[in-house]
Amino acid sequence: MSDELLPHGHPTRAPASQRGRTAEVLEHAKTLGKEITATIDGREITVPLGTTILEAARKLGIRIPTLCYHEDLCLAGVCRICVVEIEGQRTLQASCSYPITAPIKVSTHTAKVRRARRHILDLMLANHYGECYACSRNGNCELQALAEEYGVDYFRFGRMERPKYEIDMSSHALVRDMNKCVLCRRCVRTCIDLQEVGVLEAIDRGSHIKIATFGDKPLADVVCISCGQCINRCPTGALRANDNTDEVWEAIDDPTKHVVIQTAPSPRAGIGECFGLPPGVPMTFQMNTALRYCGFDRVFDTNFAADLTIIEEGTELLKRLHKALTGEEADGNENARTGPLPQFTSCSPGWIKFAEHFYPDFLDHVSTCKSPQQMFGALLKTFYAEKAGIDPKNIVTVALMPCSAKKFECNRPEMCASGYKDVDYGLTTRELAKMIHEAGVDLPNMPKSDFDDPFGTATGSGVIFGTTGGVMESAIRTVVELVTGKKIENLFDHADVMPVRGFEGIRYAELPIAEIGSVPDIVSHLFKDWKWLTGATLKVAVAHGTANAKRVMEDIKSGGKLSECHFIEFMACPGGCLGGGGQPIPTSPEIRAARAKAIYDEDRAYSVRKSHENPALLQVYADYLTDGPCGHRSHALLHTHYTPRGKYIA
């Protein structure tokens, strides 16, 4: 998208520290030329001026250990584990933050370097409390891996005998255990630079330093949006999701409970990573079998609820459009209080909490639709309970989500449509992988099996909810077809709405609605005639990561181009749900791209790829939600409201 749309002219997030570096490099380039040849471990490499030693070494296939360095974050250079020796320099240099601007000769593993790294590691271990075998990151911990790599077999500087800090369990979503913190500040940079929320900061100095919230308050009392991006980047077990597997096992083991699980699209694209598979190998149908082995009574597809969301949210959008274009409420009811445009999506609970904290004046723009997880939970304890003849109090609904904020969302007090919690427990992809391991199931080699009825297998539209732009693409497929009566394939090859795909931070698209076709029954009752929509141009935007969401919101606030949008998709996590705070660790742009590919491939493989063509969904409207999308029953079960929370106070 063009720069003019953006208040600061940065199409994607470039943390301040890296913007500075680019300018410096250009200055040098005038005198030194654009490229430079350096020698690393006796091998020559020519790189663009300003390339760091670490980047150059990686190009040569030379491994330099890192800890504070992360591909998604700006440089910090604080952990020093990546030190290297440069010929002619007295002290060792941190290779992650040393730009090559001269023909230097670098050695990456001399005796001096190895001794220094081992010392750094020993010092970190002296301040690290906890036993590896009693840690959620056992086997997936960067500190543990480094200790193995450098042959640590005793504690040279002693070790902490007892914990120094209380574990912060206040949040439904995250647990902070600062006793395991190595002060790499990845979480600080994630929160403040990547997500622009700014909950965490390094407080005090020297041996007193620690990562803390404002006034060292518990996470539940600060503006944490529960996105969990810090968990995905924490090298140790200092940050983790609030694990609900014990409660879920307990429910499974209780014969009086009927335990059902709904699985979101993103975990399928990621869970293979927990079983040694490369990123981007979908495990959808193997996982269904594994879940039944674990003891879940029914396995449902959250994508069904995603399709439901499209119908509900699409209907809501049409009502808002009607009011904005004609000045009248859809059904002539003056008390309807239809919200303003642009309409914001409401699927991402991290984004919702972000909006409640930082943009409380815009909450009437957020769609009143619950997220797919909560819609499904509500339906399971009402429609499904009735159909299956089970008392809803005996139904335990579990949601497999790529997300830590979903744990916060399912505990919101307003999410009790049936009189019981819509969703009892939210599990992350990592937690489910643990359960599957514990059940002794070898996921990749499971036979494939389908989802259970009555919700069946959903559509391709539901699947792509897992990636940034997916909700928008699904909405476009459905709204355009419903309104124009034309096949979306006529506008976009294979119904792939390319303008909203990709990983650019903010994306914008326009769709002209030239004529109105025969509007199908499901929405036709909304308006007496549909002429008001003829010739309109649907303007949409997509933003992922709350830093980009903030940019969009500021543009809207200042009356910029994005304020003319009709519909905007917001996802709190970079890459959308597939990069969520509950997904397997580690994360990187490449891993997220591989997961996105798996999701788009799965979409292509579905025979039904549009929400409004989902037969199970139409059946639910015919049998249960009989007054149609956004009708009374759907409002009671599938819609919600939001809570303004102070900008900096929880």
Binding site: G198, E201, D204, A212, F214, G215, V222, V223, Y648, I649
Partner: protein
Amino acid sequence: MPFSTYLAKCPGRDEADEEVLLAQLDEVLADYKDVPGALIPVLQITQAIFGYLPETALKKIALALDKPYSEVAGVVGFYSYFTTVPRGKHLVRVCLGTACYVRGGKEVLAALKELLRIEVGETSSDRMFSLDVGRCFGACGLAPVIMIDDDVHQRVRPGQLPKILERYRSGSTSDDNGNGESDK
């Protein structure tokens, strides 16, 4: 308004009502809110106004300068100049340099902690005394030494402390030339 003018105008540690002080802070923030790099000067002025940095003031600053709370807290925590604990009327500093340490500075410190019921860096509940330690005041011949505000007290023994503190508490310290108790 230049920074130095602000500092000169600040009332310091008097008994002004917090509402009044917060109103002063609002004026400062109105002047500084669009100035790049304003955080540290604003914090300095705020500390001069309140005598310390109360949480309410830090929240106001974060909102006005559009910075996350945590970033403000990080800066406050980094510089030892800033304090989030209210300072007492009198600052008691105990020397723990080598000479004072071996001549009983540690016992003096322990006695002060007990008398004031506070730890180092804290302020007594009546807000009369704050307790701090120092590393050599350059008066090793008089060890152990404590300083209260600008007064040096020499060869202090724990037993004398209640009497010394009482004189500050009652405000009758101006007539003894600031030299406190001698070792009689």
